[in-house]
């Protein structure tokens, strides 16, 4: 019990730290970087639920983000619908898209690389569609006006968006924390580890996988609203960018799939590496090479991510208190 308490205390302290951090940082740049880290960690966490816990790797995670962004933005620009309510419709939109994509692909038994490819295809399909229909603004895109206020989910300072992203990230961590101790989470992990055995033991694997992708979709939808209200512009290449699909799986894999803090750790490390490389290397493009090299090293030598490597080390050094804690949470 004391272990659990210590763990909880550590969590609360960390959260408090992030909450008061903006009072010690005056640079707009650092606030923006941190905001982006939380945003990526949040998206990574949504990918983590389907990919890390249920073992279904998606390569088109951006489709939920883009759809959510369009839902709330179109509602705002066309009907003047306030984003503070629009974000809930974006969440619904993302979940509904998850239902459709999940039903169609899992129903027909797609898994592994086939599932990854079909999600990529869906994202690309939506990008082309968004480009060719009128109500999305087509290739010209949608311009949102800047009118700070809570009902617009826009803020006068970058710190406002910092807290917005932080809240999203806290929620995502809470969801996964719940998952770790719940039956649903155990069922997802069972599906990841062995789908036939899961089915034999009474788990409705199709339904569970669809629920998982719906949660991912709902989370992605909210991220879309966040993005469009912060950057005030949306077009198909942004809304459905492959880059973002890759980034959300990358931060999770680097940090540790199927762990609570993997996406956050991954997002923090990758963004830091990226910024540091950009800061110290002047030759254009070279920073990307350094970034790529570090990525190769991490993925090559730490197949279980940074958190996995840390846990292994704990185990080796004989102090397995962390593992005990984890097994308590997981069970």
């Amino acid at each position: 019990m004391s272990n659990l308490r210590r763990h909880l205390a550590f969590l609360v302290l960390g959260a408090l730290g992030l909450i008061i951090l903006p009072y010690f940082i005056s640079s707009r740049f650092y606030i923006d970087v941190l905001t982006l880290i939380f945003f990526t960690a949040y998206l990574g966490q949504s990918w983590n639920i389907l990919g890390g816990y249920a073992g279904q790797f998606s390569f088109g995670g951006v489709m939920f983000f883009g759809t959510g962004a369009y839902v709330s933005s179109i509602l705002l620009t066309t009907f003047g619908f306030p984003p503070i309510f629009g974000i809930f419709l974006a969440i619904l939109g993302g979940a509904f898209l998850g239902l459709i994509v999940g039903y169609m692909s899992f129903r027909s038994g797609l898994k592994g690389s086939y599932f990854a490819l079909i999600t990529l295809a869906f994202a690309e399909l939506l990008r082309v569609l968004a480009n060719s229909v009128e109500f999305t603004g087509g290739g010209v895109g949608l311009f949102l006006t800047y009118a700070p206020g809570l009902s617009n989910l826009q803020f006068e300072t970058p710190v406002g968006f910092y807290y917005f992203a932080l809240v999203l990230m806290f929620i995502s961590i809470a969801i996964v924390y719940w998952l770790e101790g719940s039956r649903f989470g155990a069922q997802l992990v069972a599906i990841r580890e062995n789908e036939d055995a899961a089915e034999a033991l009474g788990i409705d694997t199709l339904r569970c996988k669809i629920y998982a992708i719906m949660i991912m979709g709902a989370m992605g939808g909210a991220a879309g609203t966040f993005y469009s209200q912060k950057y005030l512009y949306l077009d198909p290449p942004i809304a459905y960018s492959i880059h973002l699909s890759v980034e959300m799986l990358l931060v999770t894999i680097v940090g540790g799939m199927g762990t609570i803090f993997g996406p956050l750790v991954g997002a923090f490390v990758l963004h830091t590496v990226n910024e540091v490389a950009r800061h110290f290397i002047d030759t254009p493009g070279l920073s990307l090479i350094v970034y790529g090299l570090i990525l190769i090293i991490i993925i090559g030598y730490l197949p279980n991510g940074l958190i996995g490597a840390f846990k292994k080390k704990e185990k080796k050094s004989g102090s397995n208190s962390l593992d005990k804690k984890r097994s308590r949470e997981e069970s």
Partner: protein, 231 residues
Amino acid sequence: MVAVSSVDLEVNEKEIVSLIGPNGAGKTTLFAMVAGFLKADEGEINFENASIVGMKPHQICQRGMVRTFQITQPFAGLTTLQNIMVGAYSNTPQTISARKKAEEVAEVVGMTSLLSQGADGLTVAGRKRLELARALATDPKLLLLDEVMAGLNPAEIDEIVKVIKGIRDRGVTIFLIEHVMKAVMNLSDRTYVLNDGKLIASGTPSSVAENPQVIEAYLGHGAAEAMAEGA
């Protein structure tokens, strides 16, 4: 090519019934069809007087029939406890009661000391037991055991035979595929023999073992006569 054809068999409540036959006879295929993993082209499968044809494995499991796998299918990345809990969760959404159920089941199959061990580190005997434990944790009425003794040494077999008898005494009906004849003789109330996808004999284990057709199925044509002459 048909793996199993026109097989007609039944298992009564609280019986231990075994299914034997040479390799490739279609035993596992038959199990897979009964448990909903494969679809039979034709025929009826009834469980507790209701047809379960076309149902998915998880639906059949929820009705109280659960299978184990001949090639063990542990959730390798999880501990023994977590593995068994997955089975236990089929009857309760509560983590605490699932854990309690899992610990009870572990006691029944003798895995209590292995609960915190990773399933990928279990021995063959441990994995076989884990298959049994997970299935048992779903609180089945009918347990389909597919070669849970293959690869075990005689001492381990004696132990698992005891465990299976104990499970039957708790009111669970058992239908098992087995090659270990000593265990088949010891456990079964009745035995069916499958060869080339067809049932060739049925009855008490000892009567089946003396059946010439069965001996020929295992040892080849003419073997029954040779054995009779030899005796």
